[in-house]
């Protein structure tokens, strides 16, 4: 019964989505106030039905209802409750339902927090989001219904992919989808603004907090994914430039560019068409990611069970959504004249260079990810494009990006004097250079040029951000949240880059063969192997090793790296033992028995690797603070009157108010 309710709710959600995507937008075009007014209720009804459907699938999992094919394929009665819950989105069908639900949540949020926006604009936004919803719901109902029944009913289910049976990965997809789908809000705003025929500061100001929040979720999602890869895959890596990782990185890069470009569009009425294009790109790349992950056109570690038929459906959907928005852009962009002019040395220019570097990176990642496909499609054979390529290309582009990041904060809008800025930061530059040379010499075993570049970029960007905060001339507690947001965003990025460059250059790893009681010394630590025991988990059997780590005779930690077998023909999983720290991680992965009581063990010493994710956390905090700056609330309240009554008035009424507040 429950699965039928879920299925029915899904069908209802589709019906509502169709109404939502047709009437409000038509109402906006024909001045039909009643149709325009349908936007909010349909968005909320859509959310309600999707929530019902999702809860039904959740109950089916919790009750282990194996008459549902999806439940039987992805869970069994031995699985801990938390993984029964995360199994809801652990495979293709359910993850689509989560996607649709999150889209519903975002549209619902827009309908609730829309006080400052004209009803007509809102109608268009909600309709565009409805259209995306129709696509995904149709996809689900036609090709990937999670509520499909199974007969005969099996006594016991299979198992959730063991890789996914981990707390970090349980919350990774919801975060990532909140990010991907969150960009649909900025996208819908861009489309709505183009349909309305005018793109002024209003749409940018409106889209900014939403874009920020989506970006924060995406940042958290990507960081969780990389952290998970680090402790779960057992080879000490945290990023492999896998197609699926790249699929999440591309919207993030464009999203970062979008956040900055929106600032220019809001404050200086420049970059108008460029910002719209970025908003389209950010969401299009999220959709492209969905295609790449689910169609099987690329080989990836994390891809869903691939199916060309599903791929065809998403491709058609992609053509409709992206093709029509780019067509609309081609028609409307020439009308979008940017009024704010600026000189070569100005904050606009700084942000433009930042955008170019980010887009160049995105284009490179896209090129590298799809190049094997291009070559194959042209019948020129099979090639691989992997980390060595991406790392080679990413380095010079990040140097451009990071050097600009430091200067950018100090540049004035419109026009600035290079001497003025340079006078401010020259000591900072020298200090950053000094740190770049001293850190590798003092704290690391050897000096490498690459590490010095990384440290220079990190210290330059973070010092510049700190000086900038100090320069605001106010007590730190009185500064606007947006200021803190920008500073933390930059500092977080700097911390991540410091982590990446130092850990890539100075990690030590060793494969060793250890017998019971034998020890091995590496990077000043003594690793003593105390054998392997068999341990039973709730739904797996593990070989658990014990390794005592000492330094100069003092005990540091005891780690228990495991190899888990979840049965049912699944691959054994590595559960690394990690002693994490601020300055270094010690990482141990258990290999295989080598006869007698000897085992192969892989040891890693990774300096400041945790900074990579710490930086991501700081960036996310920055993004959140910026999104909740009181300026947005204030402006909305001020803007409320003129915008709601007359859409045309907001350009004149709001822009100056906003300038003043900013």
């Amino acid at each position: 019964m429950i699965p039928e309710i879920g299925h029915f709710a899904l069908v209802l959600a589709l019906v509502v989505a169709i109404v939502q995507s047709v009437f409000p937008i038509l109402g906006a075009a024909t001045n039909n106030a009643q149709w325009v007014a349908m936007a909010k209720p349909t968005a909320r009804a859509q959310l309600l039905f999707l929530a019902i459907s999702f809860v039904c699938l959740l109950i089916s999992f919790l009750e282990s209802d194996f008459s549902v094919r999806y439940v039987a394929n992805n869970s069994n009665t031995f699985m801990p409750t938390i993984y029964k819950v995360s199994a809801v989105w652990g495979a293709h069908e359910g993850s689509l339902l989560l996607w649709a639900l999150i889209l519903g949540v975002w549209a619902g949020l827009v309908s609730f927090f829309s006080k400052g926006i004209s009803a007509v604009m809102l109608a268009r936004v909600i309709s565009v989001m409805g259209m995306i919803g129709v696509g995904f719901l149709l996809f689900m109902l036609l090709t990937s219904n999670p509520f499909e029944r199974l007969f005969p009913i099996p006594e016991q289910g299979k198992t959730l992919n063991p890789l996914l049976q981990d707390p970090g990965l349980a919350i990774h997809p919801p975060m990532l989808y909140m990010g991907y789908v969150g960009f649909s809000v900025a996208f819908a705003f861009a489309i709505a603004a183009m349909l309305g025929g005018k793109l002024d500061a209003a749409w940018a100001r409106w889209a900014r907090p939403w874009t920020n929040v989506a970006w924060v979720f995406l940042t958290i999602g990507i960081a969780l994914g990389s952290w998970w890869a680090y402790y779960e895959l057992g080879w000490g890596g945290w990023w492999f430039w896998d197609p699926v990782e790249n699929a999440s990185l591309m919207p993030w890069l464009v999203g970062t560019a979008l956040i900055h470009s929106l600032a220019v569009s809001e404050k200086r009425a420049a970059f108008k068409s460029w910002t719209v294009l970025l908003a389209i790109f950010a969401f299009s790349l999220s959709l492209l990611g969905t295609f790449l992950v689910r169609s099987g056109v690329l080989t990836s570690v994390h891809a869903f069970a691939s199916d060309p038929e599903r791929g065809l459906f998403i491709l058609i959907f992609l053509i409709l959504v992206v093709g029509s928005s780019l067509l609309l852009f081609a028609v409307r962009a020439p009308q979008l004249r940017s009024t704010g002019t600026f000189e070569v040395v100005s904050r606009e220019m700084g942000l433009l260079i930042n955008n170019i570097a980010l887009i160049a990176m995105t284009a490179t990642v896209l090129l590298g990810t799809l190049y094997p496909l291009f070559i194959d499609a042209l019948g020129m054979g099979k090639i691989s494009v992997g980390p060595p390529y991406f790392n080679t290309i990413a380095l010079p582009l990040s140097v451009v990006l990071f050097v600009t990041m430091g200067f950018g904060l100090f540049l004035r809008w419109k026009k600035d004097k290079p001497e003025r800025v340079f006078a401010k930061v020259r000591w900072l530059l020298l200090l950053a250079l000094l740190i770049a040379f001293l850190v590798p010499i003092l704290f690391m075993e050897s000096f490498t040029f690459k590490a010095a570049i990384g440290v220079f970029m990190a210290s330059w960007v973070s010092l510049a951000a700190l000086l900038w905060v100090q320069e605001q001339g106010k007590s730190p507690f009185k500064l606007p949240l947006a200021t803190w947001g920008a500073a933390l965003g930059h500092i977080g990025m700097a911390v991540t880059v410091a982590g990446i460059s130092l850990t890539s250059m100075y990690s030590t790893e060793k494969d060793v063969r250890l017998e019971n009681g034998q020890s091995y010394e590496m990077s000043g630590y003594q690793f003593t192997f105390n054998g392997v025991k068999e341990v039973k988990g709730p739904n797996y059997i593990a070989q658990r090793g014990e390794v005592l780590i000492t330094r100069d005779g003092k005990e540091i930690s005891t780690l228990y790296p495991e190899k888990r077998n979840y049965g049912q023909g699944t691959m054994p999983m590595t559960e690394a033992g990690i002693d994490g720290g601020f300055f270094r991680d010690l990482f141990i992965a258990l290999g295989e028995p080598l006869g007698g009581n000897a085992w192969s063990v892989r040891l890693y010493h990774k300096p400041v690797v945790s900074w990579i994710w710490m930086g991501a956390a700081i960036m996310s905090l920055g993004g959140f603070l910026a999104a909740f700056d009181r300026r947005y609330r204030l402006v909305r309240r001020r803007a409320a009157k003129p915008v709601v009554t007359d859409e045309k008035a907001d350009k004149g009424a709001v822009a100056p108010a906003n300038e003043a507040v900013a």
Binding site: S273, L277, I280, F281, S284, F291, S295, G296, V297, L298, T299, P308, G311, L312, L315, L318, I319, V322, G323, L326, L327, F329, A330, V331, A333, P334, L370, P372, L373, F374, D376, A377, G381, K382
Partner: protein, 178 residues
Amino acid sequence: MKKGALIPLIIFAVLVVFLGIGLGLKPREVPSPFIGKAVPEFRLPELMKDGESIAPADLKGEVWMLNVFASWCVSCRAEHEVLSNFINAEKVMVLGLNYKDEPDNAKKWLGALGNPYQHIAVDYDGKVGIDLGVYGVPETFVVDKKGIVRHKVTGPVYQETVRDTLLPLVLKLREEKV
């Protein structure tokens, strides 16, 4: 309409064409670099004939197939009947490469399922497998009279594989003059 504003749409259109073609491709199937080249030389002991050895050179002048198999490989069991029927019906010369297997297990396996191979080379440590670029067992190479690899099947041979590819190819290659 300004031309510049159309650029994103054009790029997208090109991308879509490639993605569409991509749907019909098989990213997991890596073509063998040996096609059109001589089969790598090796000499290995025979599994069923004690003290004897076999090399591709011994088979020159004939159209033959090289089938990589092992007793631990489940798909080898799946293709065994189809392959045996084809070999017996068309009297194809086949060299089996027993890849990373215990000879005793291989003998038992062949005893139970039947032995269609005229020669079986024992590649105990898998070194010859690496020389042949073997990455997923079973694999089947078709070699012409001059000792040139003409085709390779990665993964199990099905009835359709025999009908559509292997049989026509073997018949065609037999017609070729040395």
